[in-house]
């Protein structure tokens, strides 16, 4: 009896210890985020409130989606430099398709001096839903094209997506040479506020006044969307054969092939999913800003921040280990750091410097493990 208890205790502890060790990157990211966010709310003049949470959620969502997007190709030891471009392109499409004009919006195409009429895009609720589906499909299609260029063209992902990213930015510029367009106001209101406002806008749960609904009415919609996308898209994918194949390709492509895994399909799926996630981010950004804007520097900044989020979230750029959930926390850490600038009133001019220093400090501290390496050869992987 005593022996059994002794045997049980340590083995359970071992189990937890192993899990923590396997996910040390994610655990660190989550802990860091919690500490930062608690500090932020303690220091915030208004304290913890739904309004602050809603604002934070709106600012976090697009980068969190792009971080998820970047994670999938990185897991397959590729890199997707086009996520920012896909986001921008989808946002520009959204600014045409989600106007919500009653009776529909006429679409036309001006190209090479020709004026082509493309018919009318339906308006109303069904039009908006169709528009959302079309926008997400465009994002996924862009990702699929990336995947096909990488797999069938056999071009290195980093350079292939650099090139396709230029094409997508070109399409975005073609759609919106200057910022503009319009997004349905109700859609903007419903998705960028708390669950209560969402219910009131779409008229469910007695316009959000139902008594059982009250305890959750303060939760911001962006966070709900984030959790839904993570649970309904990422988790099933992670557990599917293709998802496992993505991890396998990232850790040893040759071995994955020898084991009979569908490596080509896994890579294409990884890039397609990246396009889909980036499309979600672009869609939300367009809804949030109520316009489409082919902003090249912004696209580049989002791409680079997505890579930073992935690394901070504990995913190895070499592929094979990590998770999109960690990247969400990586993105949130990056954003919370910039929230700090606001409340501590740091001069805006110094913000880029602090952002850079914090990023460098984070990756350098994470790299201190090299000091423990006994055999120099272990460094060259």
């Amino acid at each position: 009896m005593r022996q059994r208890r002794l045997a049980l205790g340590p083995s359970m502890l071992d189990d937890v210890a192993i899990r923590v060790r396997q996910n040390v990157g994610i655990v660190t990211a989550v802990l860091l985020f919690c500490v930062l966010y608690v500090l932020y709310n303690l220091a915030h003049p208004k304290g913890f409130s739904s309004a602050v949470l809603v604002q934070n959620g709106d600012e976090i969502f697009a980068l969190a989606m792009l971080a998820m997007a970047q994670t999938v190709p990185v897991l397959a030891s590729g890199l997707d430099l086009s996520v920012g471009a896909v986001m921008t392109m989808v946002g520009c499409f959204a600014s045409y398709l989600l106007t919500g004009t009653a009776g529909g919006a006429p679409l036309h195409l001006d190209i090479f001096g020709l004026h082509l009429s493309l018919g009318t895009f339906p308006g109303g609720i069904s039009g908006i839903l169709l528009g959302i589906v079309v926008c997400l499909a465009i994002g996924a299609l862009a990702g699929l094209i990336n995947g096909c260029v990488v797999v069938y063209g056999r071009i290195q992902p980093i350079i292939a997506t650099l090139a396709t990213g230029a094409v997508y930015i070109g399409i975005a510029l073609f759609l919106r040479p200057t910022p503009g367009g319009k997004i349905d106001e109700d859609l903007n209101w419903a998705l960028t506020n708390s669950l209560g406002d969402f219910a009131a806008t779409v008229h469910i749960f007695d316009d959000g006044a139902a008594s059982w609904f009250a305890p959750v009415a303060w939760i911001p919609v962006p966070f709900v969307l984030l959790v839904l996308i993570a649970l309904l898209v990422w988790v099933p994918f992670r557990r599917s054969v293709l998802g496992r194949a993505v991890y396998a390709v990232g850790s040893a492509e040759g071995a994955a092939y020898m084991s009979g895994l569908p490596i080509d399909r896994a890579k294409i799926a990884a890039f397609t999913l990246a396009g889909f996630f980036a499309g979600c981010g672009g869609l939300f950004l367009a809804i949030q800003t109520s316009s489409g804007n082919a902003d090249i520097p912004q696209a580049g900044a989002y791409t680079l921040n997505s890579i930073a989020s992935v690394v901070i979230g504990g995913t190895s750029l070499l592929g094979g280990t990590g998770s999109a959930i960690g990247s969400i926390f990586g993105a949130m850490i990056l954003r919370v750091i910039s929230f700090f600038f606001r409340i501590f009133d740091i001069a805006p001019l110094l913000q880029p410097l602090f952002e850079g220093l914090i990023l460098l400090a984070a990756v350098s501290i994470g790299a201190l493990g090299v000091l423990r390496v006994r055999n120099t050869l272990e460094l060259f992987r």
Binding site: G153, I155, G170, L173, G254, L349, L353
Partner: protein, 319 residues
């Protein structure tokens, strides 16, 4: 013997095809201008020299970038290394302007190299952070506005003046090219660089101090970017925010179009030279055609994919 000649042709093929593509661009552009304006500015030496003068800045950046890509790393800090060198050079002024500018590049390269070689942080992320820090330093230094200081006379004459009808910037580019080409082909350092790019562990076991070589490569890239910044400030008579942003992706594209493997270890300097000329000519033809920015981006992306489909395809994992 056969494998040696085969590998030679494997490295030469991209250069040949890229050179052919330059001819195609020239012919297509000339046909267009002839049909539309009845003239052929693309074939006039004055115009070509002027385009190459602008291309010299990209060429110098690409030379440094190639050295880093050859050891299978990448330097994303180029934009603000370039801008910082230009800004510091103009604000110091006097005879020290150029040495200070180049010193900035050396310092940034040193930091990059130490982070990548000794801390083993992936270059993609470390140089990204350094770029953000440099941007932050420069924004704090200038207050976010274009600095009011002007380039020195020496910087202007190096970048904008001509000697015997040939722009001085071209001479600077030529000197940098010769230095990098000789370093890559004729020195031990060059051999080490290719060896590290192929397999760092093997190079290490063969007795190469791979970390020091990595630092040297990043220093070369930083100094090249700084030199381009100093020249660009001389060309436009002053430094300005974001002056380096337009040089990062084109320089990577030029190196890759020139046949250098993005995974390192393979590629010739001549290819990078041809890649730069290709991108510069493509840009000038597109601007002659009055192509809007949207069309430029699309064509730019398609050309890179097309060139790589022709000769840049990797090997199958199954073989």
């Amino acid at each position: 013997m056969t494998s040696a000649s085969l590998s030679l042709s494997r490295d030469d093929r991209p250069i040949l095809i890229a050179a052919l593509f330059i001819l195609v661009i020239l012919v297509a552009g000339t046909v267009y201008t002839f049909a539309r304006f009845g003239s052929a500015p693309l074939l006039s030496p004055t115009y070509l020299l002027q385009q190459l003068q602008i291309g010299a800045f990209l060429g110098i950046v690409a030379a440094g970038m190639m050295v880093v890509i050859l050891i299978a790393q990448i330097d994303l800090s180029v934009p603000w290394t370039l801008a910082a060198a230009a800004m510091m050079a103009t604000s110091i002024g006097g005879p020290l302007a150029i040495p200070v500018g180049l010193g900035i590049g050396l310092l940034v390269g040193l930091v990059n190299g130490i982070g990548v070689a000794y801390l083993r942080v992936p270059s993609m992320i470390f140089t990204l952070g350094v770029n953000a820090v440099m941007r932050g330093l420069m924004v704090a230094h200038t207050g976010g506005y274009a600095p009011q200081t002007a380039a020195t006379d020496l910087m202007r004459s190096l970048a904008a003046d001509r000697t015997l009808g040939i722009p001085n910037a071209l001479f600077v580019w030529a000197v940098v090219s010769v230095l990098v080409a000789v370093m890559l082909q004729r020195t031990a350092l060059g051999r080490y660089i290719y060896a590290i790019g192929n397999k760092e562990a093997a190079a290490y076991l063969a007795g190469v101090d791979t970390r020091r070589v990595t630092v040297i490569c990043f220093v070369i890239c930083g100094v090249a970017a700084a030199l381009a910044g100093v020249l660009l400030a001389g060309y436009s008579t002053k430094a300005y925010q974001g002056m380096g942003d337009a040089y990062l992706l084109p320089s990577i594209a030029a190196v890759v179009i020139g046949g250098t493997n993005i995974l390192g270890g393979r590629g010739r300097y001549l290819g990078t030279l041809i890649g730069v000329v290709l991108i510069v000519l493509l840009n000038s033809v597109l601007s002659i055609m009055d192509m809007p920015e949207a069309g430029r981006q699309v064509i730019y992306g398609l050309v890179i994919i097309f060139m790589l489909l022709v000769y840049g395809r990797g090997e199958r994992v199954t073989s």
